[in-house]
Amino acid sequence: MDVVSRTDALQTVLAGTDAAVYAYGVVAARLSGSERSRALSDMAAHRAARDSLAAQVTAAGAVPTPAAAAYDLQRDVVDAASARLVAALVEDRLAGQWAGLAGQSTAADRTSAATASVACAVRQVSWTSKAPIWNGAA
């Protein structure tokens, strides 16, 4: 397994989870009730994944790329509908990034990355009721 490529893939997913944590903060602010609770729960899941990824980057002998102060969400989040779309977009992209990490991983680590990719795909459907054929291709 190419160690440099795996570390790059880890950094890519780390950046994606950082973006997801940021995005869900914006998303949650535009939602209410159970949807807001779900957004906060999803944000917590990404935060936990981010911490694990950062630890893996460190264990690989690299320095985790720090989170940015803000991220381009690719569309304005102005109401609940746009908030749901951004949440789905984040999950879609992350599902693809986790799959990329799985490809760069040994069998043991591959399963956890695959499981994370699947979890993102399921969360995406929870926001839009739509499932792309190929996650991360949008």
């Binding site: 397994m1 043991a108 996650n135």
Partner: protein, 161 residues
Amino acid sequence: MTAGAGALAACTSSSGGGRSPSPGAPDDPDAALRAEVAAQETALLAQYAAAEGVMPTKLAPRLAELGRRHADYRAAVLPSAASGSGSGSASGSTTRSPSASPTPSAKPAAVLGSLRAAEKQTSEQRVAQAGRAHDPELARVLVLVAAGAAGASEVLARWTS
């Protein structure tokens, strides 16, 4: 608000972390795995094709669209020469297995429930199969198929709730 735009950029390619023979090459260590996945995708296509027959007119096209992805998945794991067009419909280019056909009296809700379970099982199978893949790109594709099948299962759950 522009920092980290790449973090939201699509990840649609892999640099590949290992050295593997080309898919379909005589020494492809994933040949059996590719065939296994393709056979399972063909069976699922047949299950969708059979299900369309018992769906209400309004739902049948949506079901066909959802099932059609499995032709893409099958094509993605096979060497290009063996995968056909890769754009077949859920109704076409499939071989129905005896167990794939619901009885004419089968209720749509029950058929959708069976498809949902099949998609969930497919997702779990692809996760496990990704762990067996030698080719990093095949592993990545299998994980994407797992994600797609999990998503389809969730969509079907919403149709039945």
